[in-house]
Amino acid sequence: TVGAVALDARGRLAAATSTGGMTNKRWGRVGDSPVIGAGTYANARCAVSATGWGEFFIRAAVAHDICARVEYGRQALADAARTVIMETIPALGGDGGVIAIDAQGQVTLPFNTDGMYRGWVDRDGGRHVAILAD
């Protein structure tokens, strides 16, 4: 699965996700990536793209949950994303990660697996790529 989230110069947020699904899948199985609110979500405060065990991300409405925590719960983006990825999803039995960004340009990339292929350009224009957690 791949994805991107962005904040543009006019303060607009967007998110996108694309995937081939899971190896050896059958019966037209569809995971969270194309499900708005599960694998992808964006509003005026928050944008999220997810990658993980799709069935659990759908059940937890991961992308929307993170944005709802920011919007209604006034949680900081990093706290909201960490709670969902490090607590909610493992408690259900799933795993994976997200990339998320808010309207202030805060970026967070939590995951609960060995690694997540990831990259970001921060508010100062600094470019970063990483794979493993450590």
């Binding site: 996108a16 694309s18 340009g105």
Partner: protein
């Protein structure tokens, strides 16, 4: 506002398969996707344009499970899903189960911008895509990589022996 961009290429990293050569190649493709998306933002483009451009770059890389390099279904096919959402308007578009669209995220964007719907699937999604200029169609063989084919064979062999996947949970997100 200072533009910001983040990308991912999946959380199914298998540490034991990450050779220095693969790591360098993966990081180069991640940088390429970052440059593509951030270039849009630096030029004053929209967040929607930026995420679409970055995801196209990732779909075109054989390293990630999307577009070229997607994992195989049990039947040896590549079935692709994608979605996109514009936070400023809450418009959204998604497609699922397409097999011939080179860049599924562009078809998802077309659903968002050129249809009254949010999600289209399978043959219907592809029929819609054929009516949209700029949606490239390819032979299904375009998506094939030997690594993904080998992973499918291994998964089927393990399954026939009732063993857990050699990839562990990573199989679930390819």
């Amino acid at each position: 506002t200072r533009p910001v961009l983040a990308i991912h290429g999946g959380a199914g990293v298998i540490r034991s398969t990450l050779t220095p050569e693969i790591e360098a190649s993966v990081k180069a493709d991640l940088r390429r996707a970052l440059d593509a998306g951030y270039g849009v933002l630096e030029a004053g483009g929209s967040a929607v344009d930026a995420v679409a451009r970055a995801v196209v770059a990732l779909e075109d890389s054989p390293h990630f499970n999307a577009g070229k390099g997607a994992v195989f279904t049990h039947d040896g096919r590549n079935e692709l899903d994608a979605s996109i959402m514009d936070g400023s308007t809450r418009r959204a578009g998604a497609i699922a189960g397409v097999t011939r669209v080179r860049n599924p995220v562009l078809l998802a964007r077309a659903v968002m911008e050129r249809s009254p719907h949010v999600m289209l699937i399978g043959e219907g999604a592809e029929a819609f895509g054929r009516s949209i200029e700029g949606i490239d169609f390819v032979e299904p063989s375009y998506f094939h990589t030997d690594v993904r084919w080998r992973q499918l064979r291994e998964a089927i062999e393990k399954e026939s022996r009732h063993e857990p996947s050699a990839q562990g949970r990573a199989i679930h997100y390819g």
